[in-house]
């Protein structure tokens, strides 16, 4: 933000003609017409979409998101864009990828895209995850679509020379996603599921307590489950650990303009509204309210 404002101030100080477009103005958020490279199912519910994109879009950081202009699916034409957290971004290949579950009109339309088709993605948007260089071992705990949001942490943590333990929760073992990606970057993966009765908060708490006892948890990263977030908040408070949570909310603009995606947060003991799209979607774990 501050750098954007500063750039504008500088341009102003140079006495640029107001009517003419500023040659030096470079948008950092673009509505990018990407080309779909692949859009394949990864299991019964999720699909993986890879698109070739602009350099701006390919610089998306873990935890950031894009607003996708989803194509119409038969009778339904979504008017608004759909927020989708980034699953992968590769500035060298100029690619961005998403892992999504077909849930409504928007994702139904997305599933129809094939290689060569155009997809309008706007972004990268929002505040992503932050890694403190002092951390040696982080723990990612996610469920459902939150697993896709946490996935890019695997690569970022490896580049920062941090070990990762990923606790991935799903209804059934064959619906777990991101596990292969976490493993490919050397993360320890613990899968917990409803069908095996391992995904309850009590069991996840036991797993996390063991990691803490083993000195393998400097910070929590979580997305996709309010119950699991509360477990981590309790442990973070008890052991004075850091943490971050990626929150979800219905969005319209994605740029902090419309205030439809507000949630309550506890900031220094005061309950206040924050815009998930602009102030987040990644927030301090201890400020988030279920």
């Amino acid at each position: 933000m501050s750098s954007v404002s500063a750039a504008n101030t500088d341009a102003h100080a140079q006495g640029r003609s107001a009517a003419a477009p500023a040659a030096e103005f470079k948008p950092s958020v673009v509505a990018d017409l990407t080309t779909v490279i692949a859009n394949e199912p990864v299991n019964a519910e999720y699909r993986h979409l890879v698109a070739s994109c602009s350099i701006e879009a390919a610089q998306a950081k873990p935890g950031q998101f894009f607003q996708l202009l989803c194509p119409h699916s038969g009778s339904e034409q979504p008017y608004l864009r759909r927020p989708m957290s980034v699953y992968g971004a590769d500035p060298e290949k100029r690619q961005v990828s998403f892992l999504y579950k077909i849930a409504g009109a928007g994702t139904h339309g997305l599933a129809l895209l094939g290689p060569g088709d155009t997809l309008d993605v706007m972004g990268p948007l929002g505040v992503g995850f932050r890694l403190d260089p002092a951390w040696r071992h982080i723990v990612a705990v996610g469920r459902g679509a939150g697993l896709a949001t946490l996935a890019p942490l695997a690569q970022a943590a490896k580049q920062a020379d941090m070990k990762v333990t990923a606790v991935l929760s799903a209804r059934r073992p064959n619906l777990v996603v991101s596990d292969a990606l976490f493993r490919s970057y050397g993360a320890d993966v613990v899968v917990v599921t409803d069908s095996e009765s391992t995904s309850g908060p009590a069991n996840v708490e036991r797993i996390l307590r063991q990691l803490i006892a083993d000195g393998r948890c400097d910070a929590f990263f979580t997305c996709g489950s309010s119950r699991l977030m509360q477990v981590q908040q309790k442990l973070a408070r008890e052991f004075s650990l850091a943490g971050q949570v990626a929150m979800e909310q219905q969005m319209a603009c994605g740029l902090g303009l419309c205030y439809c995606c507000v949630r309550d947060f506890n900031i220094g003991g005061e309950i206040v509204h924050r815009r998930v799209c602009w102030d987040g979607p990644v927030f301090d774990l201890m400020e988030a309210l279920p």
Binding site: S28, V29, Y79, L80, Q250, Y259
Partner: protein, 320 residues
């Protein structure tokens, strides 16, 4: 794409000369758009509506989409006047684009005192959002009736020397009369219009889709309706009309100007294409170049409603 041209894009709107007729609709603009566009290219900046009281806004959900449209009941969250003066105003000060502040209040007195306090260097005009509920009239919006519009506009006029734009509601059956009342009471321009009161229900739960039950309809679906209001209001008053309703592209903006709008506001379209205002501006300029229109102001009210000398035979006797 910028067209090299000598088209004069300036328009005169309610006490101000704008470098071009394109500005945001209140409530759809914030600093986040700095990542997308250069604010120095806009005709004006219009802020979110501010109120004196601190407001959290409506319960969620606050928006629901319908074909070609959006229904919102955000509820005017406001951090109050000091926050606006200390944070919002300095933020936009580096731009040499006129800053228009949108205000709202539950009473005519409240409007006047807010306008008085915001008559400050750095504010180019006041847009009075009188489409909100008036607690002195059982919650009915000021702009529903000519008398209440005249009363609140008169008090606003007495409170500020700044150009005064009054934003009307389409939810009245007497919009030209309301526009005339605003003009008679000293408004410098009318903004036509706010959103259309509407509703949506979830078939799974039988619950309203919005936490506030009802909300305002905006987006491409409402454009033909508001265009008609602009046409009627522009014929009813001599002050400029600012068109606002479903404008997504330059063609929409041209239609509004032909119907009588001196300038236009782009709102909901920005949620779908964040650079919509810039593409509208570039499209307007291209249109003038292609049609060899030297001044964009020549488009204002240029709709041709003269009866044709020759009846359209094909229409009267359709060929089957």
């Amino acid at each position: 794409m910028k067209v090299e041209t000598s088209v004069d894009l300036a328009v005169r709107v309610g006490g101000l000369t704008l470098r071009n007729p394109v500005m945001p609709a209140s409530g759809t603009f914030a600093d986040g758009l700095e990542k997308v566009m250069d604010f120095n290219r806009l005709g004006a900046i219009v802020t979110k509506t501010i109120t004196r009281e601190l407001r959290d806004g409506n319960p969620l959900p606050r928006v629901v989409e319908r074909p070609g449209s959006l229904i919102n009941a955000i509820g005017i969250p406001s951090k109050g006047v000091p926050d606006f003066i200390n944070k919002t105003m300095p933020h936009y000060a580096p731009y040499d684009t006129p800053l228009v502040v949108s205000i709202s209040a539950p009473t005519a007195d409240g409007f006047a005192s807010l306008a008085r306090e915001l008559t400050l260097p750095g504010i180019a005009a006041i847009e009075a959002n009188i489409s909100c509920p008036n607690i002195e009239e059982d919650g009915k919006a000021f702009a529903m009736r000519a008398e209440t519009t005249e009363k609140v506009t008169r008090e606003l006029r007495a409170a500020t020397k700044l150009p005064l734009w009054v934003k009307l509601t389409p939810n009245t059956g007497e919009m030209p009369e309301v526009a005339k009342a605003a003009e008679a009471a000293g408004a410098d321009a009318v903004v036509v219009s706010n959103t259309i009161l509407s509703m949506a229900i979830d078939l799974k739960t039988f619950k309203p889709c919005l936490g506030n039950i009802m909300g305002g309809l905006s987006g491409p679906a409402i454009k033909p309706i508001v265009l008609r209001h602009v046409f009627q209001c522009a014929r009813a008053v001599k002050i400029p009309v600012i068109g606002c309703g479903g404008i997504s592209n330059a063609d929409d903006a041209i239609e509004y100007m032909l119907a009588g709008a001196s300038a236009i506001q782009v709102g909901t379209a920005t949620f779908v294409q964040p650079a919509a205002m810039i593409s509208v501006l570039e499209g307007l300029e291209r249109f003038c170049v292609v049609r060899e229109i030297p001044r964009i102001a020549d488009l204002i009210g240029a709709v041709d409603i003269e009866e044709s000398d020759e009846p359209d035979v094909a229409w009267l006797n359709p060929v089957t």
